[in-house]
């Protein structure tokens, strides 16, 4: 059974994810306040902080999981949808593999949201220290959910449709 209107759905999800990707990275994800400091952090500022403080591996992990992966997913899905819509016959095997990779790594993008929710739940010390989610967290969560939905609604058989038509 084929997914009805797979292309339309996927492309809609991808466009929505692409739009929300901007506020997700520009707006602060986390608002932390303590006796000493009160500050807003975006994903990128967190990465920069980690890198500066010497945690290169952790910084890179967050950079890939939270910035590169959603971006690559959006671009990959966009590519898949575009090529399927054009009924392109190029690199069909590679596209099928790309789709599988996208579907696999999708869930790992929730790492950031997971960390923020953990912090919000754990760091509740009133005036001493507290962490609150920022508006960016909502946008970021929406991006991840939308890319998951996009990957889910994309019917991989569309990749091979052009091959059938050729027969």
């Amino acid at each position: 059974m084929r997914t009805p209107r797979s292309l339309q759905k996927t492309s809609a999800y991808v466009v929505a994810a692409a739009i929300l990707y901007i506020p997700a990275n520009v707006l602060p994800v986390m608002h932390s306040s303590s006796l000493l400091v009160e500050q807003d952090d975006t994903i990128l500022s967190g990465v920069v902080y980690l890198m500066r403080s010497g945690s290169w591996p952790l910084g890179l992990l967050v950079f890939f999981a939270s910035i590169m992966v959603p971006l690559l997913k959006i671009m990959a899905l966009g590519l898949l949808v575009w090529m399927s819509a054009r009924r392109s016959r190029a690199h069909m095997l590679a596209r099928a593999r790309l789709y599988r990779v996208v579907e696999f790594i999708g869930r790992w993008s929730m790492l950031d949201i997971f960390a923020v929710t953990l912090l919000v739940a754990l760091v509740r010390m009133g005036r001493l220290a507290s962490v609150l989610p920022g508006p960016g967290a909502l946008a970021f969560a929406a991006v991840v959910v939308l890319t998951l939905l996009a990957a889910d609604s994309f019917d991989p058989r569309l990749i091979w449709d052009s091959a059938d038509a050729d027969d």
């Binding site: 339309q8 901007i22 946008a139």
Partner: protein
Amino acid sequence: MTDPAAAPKLPTAAVGRRSLPSLIWLIPVVAAAVGLWLVAHTWLAQGPIITIRFSSADGIEVGKTKIRYKSVDIGDVKAIEISEDRKAVVVSAQVAKSAWDLLSRDSKFFVVRPRISGGTVSGLSTLLSGAYIAIEPGTSKELFINFIGLEDPPEVTSDMQGREFTLHGEQLGSLAYGTPVFYRRVNVGHVTKFSLDSDGRGVAVDVFINAPYDRFVTSNTHFWHASGVDVSLDANGLKVSTESLAAIIEGGIAFQELADLPPPPGPAPSGASFTLYDDRAQALQPPDLHREQFALYFPESLRGLSVGAPVDFRGIVIGEVKSLGVEYEKADSPIRFPVMIDVYPDRLRSRSLNGSSPGAYSQAKSRAIIDRLVAHGMRGQLRTGNLLTGQLYIALDFFPDASKTAIDWSGTPPVLATLPGGLTEIQDAVARIARRLDRIPIEQLSGELSQALVSLNATLKGSQKLIGQLDSQVAPQATRTLGEAEQALKAANAILAEDAPLQKDVQDALKQVAQSARALAVLADYLERHPESVIRGKAEDAR
């Protein structure tokens, strides 16, 4: 056979293009709307970037230091740069859009750091959180973004109700920013500013009196330094008074209105000027509106007389010593020591008994009073005020014996006649007594005395002869008379003795009289009860 034409038509799938796109496209539209809203919200919430100049960026950090109004964050420091002239720092800060209207031309910015002054501790939270920049909004409607920050927090903020007054005093004492102001020992305000007068001859102290106490400041109010402890020893004993413990440590200002003046029309206007007196006694004495200066020349040493020493008129202080000096005109003229005093004629003016006020002051009138006093013998005299310390004061007193003199008012200042006083006077008196003693003719007196003694001797001899005569003639006669009198007394004694016969007889007679009286009483009693017995005789007892 079936007619193929009659056969029912098979439904054919109508392949058409949807004219409308799928509803799924609502998702990106919503996403775009949400995204735009998020961005727009953040964008619009950002207010203007302002710059504030400070002399130093002590405690200010980029990204951490906040701008606060009433402890609410309204902005962040975004950058700190050194000004072009390298004399100041320019702090750039982003202010929230909602705080836009706080940025008027006369808004003030200052850095809040922990401050401990006297009785107050402020900005303690900044010990941990670091300094922050506070804003004191202005009243102007004009938007402004380039400010010059204050180095010290303003003592009076716009949300404080009350009024500010300026006090002029001779010295600052122990006053400082925030020093409390007391009214009847209630802390009602504080010092906001102090500065030297431009000519350096005094200080101006600005005080802020909180509402509603500011209405107690009237044109009759006098302010004084309430610093430290006031110890006074008077006829009532030792008295220690102070405003409060805080005032002992950090000083203070107190004010009170003068009691015996007509009530003023209303509270003093904001910014009114007052005199700051050195102490309470000085502040609350009736104001000395007028003064006369006099010069006094004393014949004795001025040691112990100091500037400010009282001029005492029979116990009432009516002036004070202003200066002591030395003057000589020519080489051969004696050196004189003028003492300049100020006399406040207001304190001399008489209050008539019926309570009517003495009327308006005029110099002629007060001089007439002083002329009259001098004509009655008023002179200046140096007296010892304190035997221990040898402090002198100037006493004005009446000396009716003093030679007649009058004040020459044309002199500047006029000279008030003096008399030697104190020890000098005693020395003079002793010398006078010695001179008189010297004049007594002691030799002549002693000759007369010896003559008198001789005659006294003769008189004594005469009296001795008289006594001898008395002894030989009068005494035997008297002895005899006394013996006779003794015999007579003995005889009388014998008659009156207890066991004498006369005594016995009298006692018996008296007993018999008593018995007969008793019998008569019984008879009378019986007759009273039985009057018939007079006729019938005594009835027998009916037993």
